[in-house]
Symmetry: C2
Subunit: 208 residues, 2 copies
């Protein structure tokens, strides 16, 4: 998790990162109330006092790990845009790659865990839920709209209403699979199902 082998990090910075990483793993797996500060300190191999040196209180630590995790949704979006441009084949193949990248990104364990956490704590931390929604679903659909615009410029037969098309594309591709991931945390969605959903998403927008 961002532990990028920096050559001369100070001890304090290393501890800060350790605490964030440990808290991240615990909060994502056990939720806010299900995780204790003692657990965090132990998992980070750090004294409790040090935890409170770096973060004012539990809520502060929680906000920090969510703020730290949310940007990773941006990486998924970037992957989606890259998937369209890369590779061979016509618009249909390119859109299928796009859908597949979206699906694989959305089903990453950290992504689904963060989503579950944001939903679970939406009442207690509405600002975090809103931030997640903006960085995740919202920019995701925006990116897809951009890709569809490219495809239409390239001559693909797409509807005029690209906002609706992007919405349809995204939800046909990922919503059912995200449901599976949220309700069955331990299960992995098989490759064949992902491919089928990607095809369905392309089919939905490629006829107008």
């Amino acid at each position: 998790m961002g532990v990028t082998l920096e050559r001369q990090r100070t001890l304090s910075e290393r501890k800060h990162g350790d605490i964030l990483a440990a808290a991240s793993a615990l909060f994502l797996r056990q939720g806010y109330r299900g995780t204790s500060m003692d657990e965090v300190a132990t998992a980070a191999k750090v004294s409790k006092q040090t935890v409170y040196k770096h973060f004012a209180d539990k809520e502060d630590l929680f906000r920090a790990i969510v703020a730290d995790s949310t940007p990773r949704s941006g990486a998924i979006v970037a992957g989606v845009e890259a998937a369209y441009a890369s590779g061979a084949g016509g618009a249909e193949r390119a859109l299928e790659r796009t859908a597949r990248a979206l699906i694989d990104g959305a089903l990453l364990p950290e992504a689904t865990a963060l989503r579950r956490l944001a939903i679970a704590e939406a009442e207690q931390f509405p600002d975090l839920a809103a931030a997640y929604y903006g960085a995740g679903p919202l920019t995701g659909v925006g990116a897809i709209m951009g890709v569809l615009a490219q495809a239409r410029d390239g001559g693909a037969p797409l509807p005029t209403d690209l906002a609706t098309a992007a919405h349809d594309f995204a939800h046909v591709a990922v919503s059912g699979l995200i449901d599976l991931a949220l309700f069955f945390p331990s299960q992995v969605v098989p490759d064949a199902v992902r491919a089928e959903r990607a095809r369905a998403a392309v089919a939905v927008v490629l006829r107008a």
Copy 2:
């Protein structure tokens, strides 16, 4: 909540219902860990001792309220099927009513609260999450497939793959709105947005 004015319920039965109702409201709003047994007893206007007379422990009570709430998803499904049959107009109008019923059902506050709860506790109570998924999303898509079959028999131009069509229909209609409800618990999705989603869902399946 099932409090149907039965003429001569015994005191014990009344208390049982009071506890269920109070616990239901609290768990749905505050989650499992966020709700204490003292709170439940106070809200139900019952002594704590009585709570433990009716339910072995907190987990038992929680399972009871989820088991009590989940069947209500079935009522939503029934409403969806009824919406197709009722009213005037051709297949397109009927499908639009179907989508609208699905949307309104999914956005009921109790429905979204239960969904949030099932997702939040999916790791701790995987069996409850699975039961919810079966009673909610799964039977919902099944019901829509039935409606689409009816529509096709009536001459509507639908794809041959009705399972995929039902999946697409359901997710284009409700998934985006459910996201909104989950991430922004206090907001209400306006009527115009619901209507637009219903139209989009019909448009997606009515061209094959």
